[in-house]
């Protein structure tokens, strides 16, 4: 295999691996490809209060249904002085607090952070067999008549339920008499009546408890929905108004009729919710989410580093992007620069100082440095001594700059310290040699070229997308490497050569 083919093979392999990892992180781990993607994260704080009586106390709270399309980021139990355990009851997990003796009315807390996951309709068929409800004869007759008339008007369990709930909420006049009777009898709640009628009609139904998420609500109570199984999946109805479907902001807590809160050894127990909404960057959510699963790709990446080091890497990861820009501008465009990668370092300094301030400072320091360097060249010094002298001159210029600008109240000029001293010194040295050997014209061309490339590097590096991609998908470095390898093989003309050779005549 020729070296050229090898380069392409290696480059394509690198690019494939880089893109592969990126796609994996994007799809499987949910990393956002673009910056600024964010999600709403809800914090629910449930507070349990009750009046204790003498003797031991046991409090049991149903925990949120795991299949409710919401992703739990974090949960937290507060139970001062209580014994605490989690108990699995079939599909349901319950938190149990217990204590031998409780004197003051206690408060128990359960806090969780959730965000909405992908919407997956629940298709799990009902596990329990239908049971005929045990009802008073009169009530039962009325209910059966209602089932009869609704069956005639409906096509399937869904339309049956919809009609039923409509009937239970119609104005007095248009009430079917049976519905009115059912509600009037012992002043039952419409939910209770609906469940009885659905059971008589042999439709699988269950009660769903949950919370309407509204930002800033404190003391929010649970609300109830009715859920029926239509043969394929579960459909929710609001028993209060007959509306079909799960409301967007409904946080499903518990399904089935089991109690939500049981308190043994206390009375007047209640659970209330305080609700807060935050908007968090998707990346932070992904990081929180995967903390437990420990995806190896995240665990063995720069995210495992302390935040401070991550900040350093944020900068460092921009260097390859700068290198890519330099390679492109030199190989494809053909802009001459003094010092191959000096423009990247200058661009990094520009990021700290902002572009305009950086340019002004750079030109001033290099200008003054060149001026002093000319005197040094007059002294006939050896190279190392000469460059060292220039380094000292640069440091002195920087110090003078900072002091003067501080006294004048110009804070921007203080940023001069962000420029790499040694690089500035070498730039000055190289420019001055260039000036002596090739004249001021060449200095202008190469110096201008270097600055142009620096500015181009800077403009690319400060693009939010670039910063986001390099930091969140460091594996894209492999793609950059691959592209640079391919560019290193480019043997076509440079753009500037189209100008350089413009005076070629058509001599054939």
């Amino acid at each position: 295999m020729s070296s050229r083919q090898q380069v392409y093979l290696v480059a394509l392999l690198l690019i494939a691996i880089g893109i592969g990892f990126t796609v994996y992180k994007m799809v499987a781990l949910g990393f956002p490809l673009l910056p600024g993607e964010s999600k709403e994260v809800w914090t629910l704080e449930s507070k349990i209060t009750f009046e204790p009586s003498d003797g031991p106390v046991e409090v049991s709270l149903a925990l949120p249904d795991p299949h409710n399309n919401w992703v739990v980021l974090d949960e937290y139990f507060a139970s001062s002085g209580f014994g605490f355990s989690l108990i699995e009851e079939g599909d349901q997990t319950r938190a149990v607090w217990s204590r031998r003796k409780v004197v003051r009315p206690p408060s128990l807390y359960y806090k969780l952070q959730v965000y909405k996951g992908k919407n997956r309709p629940d298709e799990a068929p009902p596990t329990q067999a239908l049971e005929k409800p045990v009802l008073d004869p009169g009530y039962k007759d009325a209910a059966e008549r209602l089932v009869e008339s609704l069956r005639e008007q409906s096509a399937d369990p869904v339309s049956f339920t919809r009609l039923l709930l409509q009937q239970l909420h119609k104005d007095e006049d248009s009430f079917l008499q049976d519905a009115a009777f059912l509600l009037g009898e012992q002043s039952r709640s419409s939910t209770r009546v609906a469940m009885d009628v659905l059971a008589l009609a042999e439709i699988h139904a269950r009660i769903v408890r949950g919370i309407y998420l509204e930002h800033g609500r404190r003391r929010q109570r649970t609300s109830t929905l009715i859920e029926i199984y239509d043969g394929k999946l579960w459909v929710q109805f609001n028993p209060k108004n007959g509306k079909q479907g799960l409301p967007e902001n409904f946080y499903m807590w518990q399904r089935g009729g089991v109690s939500m809160l049981d308190v043994v050894g206390g009375k007047n127990s209640r659970v209330e919710f305080a609700i807060m909404k935050n908007t968090l960057p998707t990346r932070s959510i992904v990081m929180m989410e995967n903390r437990d699963e420990r995806a190896a790709l995240i665990d063995f990446s720069i995210y495992a580093l302390p935040v401070e080091q991550q900040g350093v890497f944020k900068q460092l990861l921009l260097v390859p992007i700068g290198a890519l820009v330099v390679v492109f501008l030199r190989v494809i465009i053909g802009i001459p620069t003094s010092g191959t990668f000096m423009p990247i370092l200058i661009a990094l300094a520009f990021i700290q100082t902002t572009l305009l301030t950086g340019l002004v400072i750079f030109l001033l320091v290099v200008g003054i440095g060149l001026w002093i360097r000319f005197y040094l060249s007059y002294l006939n010094l050896l190279l190392v001594a000469r460059v060292s002298a220039v380094v000292i001159v640069v440091v002195a210029i920087m110090a003078a700059f900072s002091v003067f600008s501080y006294k004048l109240g110009l804070d921007q000029a203080m940023m001069v310290t962000f420029f790499p001293t040694i690089i500035l010194a070498w730039t000055i040295e190289r420019m001055s040699i260039l000036w002596e050997e090739d004249g001021a014209h060449e200095v202008l061309i190469q110096g201008g070229g270097s600055l142009l490339v620096s500015v181009a590097c800077y403009l690319v590096m400060v693009m939010p997308v670039v910063a986001h991609l390099t930091f969140n998908f460091p594996e894209l470095l492999l793609v950059v490497l691959g592209v640079i390898l391919i560019l290193g093989q480019y043997s076509g003309y440079r753009l500037t050569e189209l100008y350089r050779f413009r005076h070629m005549r058509d001599t054939g």
Binding site: V331, G334, N380, L382, L383, V384, E437, D438, G439, E442, G488, Q489, Y490, S491, G492, Y493, R494, E497, L498, Y499, R500, F501, R502, H503, M504, R505, T507
Partner: protein, 322 residues
């Protein structure tokens, strides 16, 4: 204002990227570079191979030897002191005559032996070498330039650059210093490059700073009549440098001495591309042509003859700009 890449390809122009990757990267071994970057090594090698070079009078490689300079020079009246690793013509001291122990420069300024010693000392300490490396000072005989060619140059002497690819001379130009180039023969500093027909050594085109010109900007001498003497010998010298150095892509700089004829002044392992403009012809197509026949011609003469026949135009003056 721009020329299309397709047109450039048609003309067979060699671009910088292709030169670096496919020509220099492929044919010039890194380890051979010192042979051409160090002028002393080049000269000793050339003498070994019996190539004509300006005569080496002596070298000074240590500071303690500097005091012996006068003894080394003996009675030599005309000489040049230059750093072995200097670049861009820096640090070259030319002495054209001696008068009562003073050394006279071409400009008429005279120097004492102390001045000359200081100059040598500076060379040794690396003042003129790339990267400030310690260097060696070479003293060589002054080249007496052919008056015929001096008309084409201002404040300096013209040299002839022959680009040699795999032993075949592929293109040549004469480089004439100008006022702009400050007496230096580098094209990017403003010297005039005159493309030379490989067949007979006649001028083809002249170019300064990328633009075609008809006459020298300072001496007003027209390049139309230009005929380089000793042409065959120049090409033979250039082609022979391939065997001498082993470098596949080489720029050979030749000067013409009144008595001795063509002499190799220095070699360059990364010759530039401006020569193509001076010849109004592309290098790439010629390199391709050489690649097709390389190995068929075993002798220097065979390669030179082939190159003169294939790459020569033989169209005297006809293609010069009006």
């Amino acid at each position: 204002m721009l020329i299309s890449p397709r047109r450039l390809k048609q003309l067979g122009m060699l671009g910088m990227n292709r030169r670096n990757v496919e020509v220099i990267g492929r044919w010039n071994e890194r380890k051979l570079y010192p042979l051409v970057d160090d002028k002393l090594k080049t000269k000793l090698l050339a003498e070994d191979y019996g190539m004509a070079v300006p005569k080496l009078i002596g070298t000074i490689s240590h500071q303690f030897e500097v005091k012996n300079l006068r003894k080394r020079l003996g009675l030599t009246r005309q000489f040049v002191i230059k750093p072995a690793q200097g670049s861009g013509g820096k640090g070259i001291l030319v002495v054209v005559s001696r008068d009562k122990g003073r050394y006279i420069k071409p400009s008429g300024v005279d120097l004492s032996i102390r001045d000359a010693e200081r100059h040598v000392s500076n060379i040794l300490s690396g003042l003129y070498s790339l990267g400030g490396r310690l260097d060696v000072a070479m003293v060589e005989a002054l080249v007496n330039f052919d008056d015929h060619l001096s008309r084409y140059s201002y404040e300096g002497v013209p040299d002839i650059r022959v680009v040699v690819y795999r032993g075949y001379p592929v293109m040549a130009m004469m480089r004439c210093s100008t006022h702009d180039s400050d007496g230096k023969a580098n094209l990017h500093q403003g010297a005039v490059g005159v493309g030379i027909d490989l067949a007979e050594g006649q001028s083809l085109f002249a170019v300064q700073k990328g633009k075609l010109v008809a006459q020298h900007p300072d001496t007003q001498q027209s390049f139309e009549e230009l005929q380089v003497p000793h042409w065959a010998e120049i090409l033979r010298l250039g082609a022979g440098c391939y065997e001498m150095t082993g470098l596949g892509y080489l720029g050979v700089d030749v000067v013409i001495d009144r008595e001795r004829g063509p002499l190799i002044l220095e070699l360059n392992a990364r010759p530039g591309l401006a020569i193509q403009i001076a010849n109004q012809s592309g290098l790439a197509s010629r390199l391709d042509q050489v690649d097709r026949v390389a190995g068929l011609h075993n002798s220097v003469d065979g390669r030179v003859d082939y190159a003169r026949e294939v790459f020569g135009r033989g169209l005297q003056g006809q293609l010069l700009p009006a």
